[in-house]
């Protein structure tokens, strides 16, 4: 991409898995060609006061295409991702039709090609996400799929989950990712079951629904030897169990969403479905446990679970509205404001969770996640850690508006995003 055009990112501090150093970065023909001081020439992007980091990677994004293009399209979702500093996102398969078929996956990949963010496709574990018959995992793997999930639905049948894990062992690098909520306990619930659900009269989804599946699937990982990834862990007990499983040496990984380390179930008190999400916002103790899990390495990635919905879909009652909230354009700032600034994480830890560790899990470490070095793909983001801004739902690049953070003041913002050498975001504005 960007054939021939040269850009120089000047005056920043380069940070990647190798550490920090003050350096300029020269980019040409989609690659980093030089990292050094005093570089000039081509188009210059000002990075003074900023960190120049590998582009962020989001393991968990709902782009809604095909099927619900009123809420988001691959194009608008990619633009939101770029503004959030992401250079790669993994598209979730709960589209209509679902991504359980090679033709649909191929179509999504084709639509994603050339957008302002690399779109990596996941695919279903089971046909129609129904939890009964396996999707053609091998064929989908052949299209480049590495992450298999029925997200939105839990693979509830332990026998089916066992077979999926066993089968995945024949697909090197494949990860079976679970939406861990036992439907027998969570069905009919709309928020965390606890003091607030009882008080508000909203049927609850107990943390035990998550904990049961996490403990079960850890045992299935032990039984099969296959890698299990837990999507959006939200309960303190689930974090503990993942930590124990890793100590046992099991091939287990986990991600956490920004809303699960920034919001509690008390946010539902006004009955506003902007705060409805599955798994639900939980207690302060759960939020604290997620933070500990992020800090001690138990949790491998911060993933947004970016879930756009039309205004009409959220203009219903809490119980009737669909779950999900936007995440791409606020994830980095929330991480910096809520985790780095208070000292829960170092900046390098935060970027590890947002970039190189998820890149490795998604099987795209050769393209994304750094390091920032000559010869590597020029997928970069430039972060101004001191910029303060207020989240304005009306000014998001996403087609949807369902952020729960409207009006919130955040510190830290993506100034520029470079995708394969092309500046797709300059001075916080998407370039196309």
């Amino acid at each position: 991409m960007s054939d021939g055009a040269e850009i120089v990112i000047r005056g920043g501090v380069v940070v990647d898995a190798g550490g920090e150093r003050t350096a300029d970065v020269r980019v040409r023909d989609g690659l980093v060609v030089e990292v050094g001081s005093g570089l000039r020439g081509g188009r210059e992007l000002d990075a003074s006061g900023c960190f120049v980091a590998p582009g962020l990677v989001d393991l968990h994004v709902h782009l809604r295409e095909p099927g619900d293009e009123e809420a988001e399209t691959i194009d608008t979702g990619a633009r939101a991702a770029a503004r959030g500093g992401f250079t790669a996102v993994v598209a979730m398969p709960n589209t209509d039709p679902p991504l359980d078929d090679a033709a649909v996956v191929a179509a999504v990949l084709a639509r994603g090609a050339g957008s302002t963010c690399d779109v990596v496709s996941s695919a279903c574990i089971t046909k129609g996400r129904a939890g009964v018959e396996l999707a053609p995992m091998g064929e989908l793997y052949g299209l480049g799929v590495r992450l298999f999930t029925d997200d939105g639905n839990c693979v509830a049948d332990a026998g089916v989950m066992r077979r999926a894990l066993e089968y995945a062992r024949s697909l090197p690098g494949a990860v079976v990712a679970q939406h861990a909520e036992d439907p027998a306990l969570a069905r009919g619930g709309h928020m965390h079951e606890g003091a607030w659900s009882s008080r508000l009269g909203i049927p609850g989804r107990p943390a035990a629904a998550e904990d049961l599946i996490v403990t079960r699937d850890i045992e299935l990982a032990a039984l099969t030897g296959a890698a299990v990834h837990f999507l959006h862990v939200s309960s303190a007990r689930a974090v503990d169990m993942v930590r124990e499983a890793k100590a046992r040496g099991l091939p287990v990984s986990a991600e956490a969403a920004p809303h699960h380390f920034t919001l509690t179930h008390a946010a539902c008190a006004g009955f506003d479905p902007l705060f409805k999400v599955h798994p639900p916002l939980r207690t302060r103790a759960d939020v604290d446990a997620i933070k500990v899990g992020l800090a001690d390495g138990t949790i491998d990635a911060i993933a947004t679970d970016h879930a756009p919905h039309t205004p009409e879909a959220k203009e219903r009652t809490f119980e009737e509205a669909p779950p999900g909230m936007l995440g791409l354009e606020t994830a980095l700032a929330l991480t910096l404001t809520e985790l780095v600034e208070p000292g829960v994480l170092t900046l390098a830890d935060a970027l590890a969770l947002l970039s190189w560790r998820p890149a490795a899990l998604a099987g795209i470490a050769h393209r994304h996640g750094g390091p920032v070095a000559a010869g590597r793909p020029a997928n970069l983001c430039v972060i101004d850690p001191a910029a303060t801004w207020e989240v304005d739902p009306g000014r998001l690049a996403s087609r949807a508006r369902n952020t729960p953070y409207g009006g919130r003041k955040l510190t830290g913002r993506v100034r520029h995003t470079v995708l394969w050498g092309e500046p797709v975001v300059v001075d916080t504005e998407a370039q196309r």
Binding site: A195, S197, G201, P203, R316, T317, F318, E319
Partner: protein, 307 residues
Amino acid sequence: MKHLLSIDDLGRDGIEEMLSLAENFVEVTRRDIPKVPALRGKTVVSLFYEDSTRTRLSFETAAKRLSADTMSFTVASSSVKKGESLRDTVQTIEAMGVDAMVVRHSSAGAPHRVASWTDASVVNAGDGRHEHPTQALLDLLTLRTHRGPALDGLHVGIVGDVRHSRVAHSDVKAFHALGADITLVGPPTLMPESLEGWPARVVYDLDDVIGNLDVVYLLRIQLERQSEALFPSLREYTARYALTAARAKRLRPDALVMAPGPINRGVEIAAEVADGPASVITEQVANGVAVRMAVLWSLLGSGGSIV
């Protein structure tokens, strides 16, 4: 006060003021011409997303006795077209020019949502498992006529399916606000999952407390709960938690029996107890109109006095 969405909107002073006001309307409802011109020119629409002819008629009667115009918008949930959001419906109705919307919905918080989209006053006529504030007010009005204005130290037992009951939610808040001690009685499967913040204690055996109660409030048992494995059978429920004639004999001589109606005779309460001297169940129904007149007057006519 702009809306009545929850008993929390009133507090003790607001509840007491509302009950005093309701007593004025009790007098009005007993007249030969039980009607005052207080809300002439105002329009009250009942927006019912759940069948409840009794509550709807009670509100509409209250509005008519205040000389308001009434409209009724009843939506069987099956007939709501997919794609028309609650907000669309509310704004369509508002465009007709209404002053108050009385909202009944099977989802908690629906009246709160409606209130965020309209300039009209909103009255919660029952939202999911959340609240039913006018029921609590009429329960208090009934209790007051027998026990005087303060309920300090009065021991109220609320028996049955507390978990799924909006009436229980509002009653616990309202009775507590006026000083009553509250005991919730029923099987654990029908108690709230969390009691944090509930000013009540829980007892699983009705026979342990039946002799100590000043008021026994029997919640209606929804017959479908049996199929959700919340209790083994109606027969077992009745044996353990119904106010049978035998249990009623153990009540204090001055104890009152209340129920939100409609009651399942022979299930949560024996027919002879429901019709017996301790029962004030029919008074509750009669007080419903006066309480709803007080609420509509407070929101639309009084110039915003209460709270």
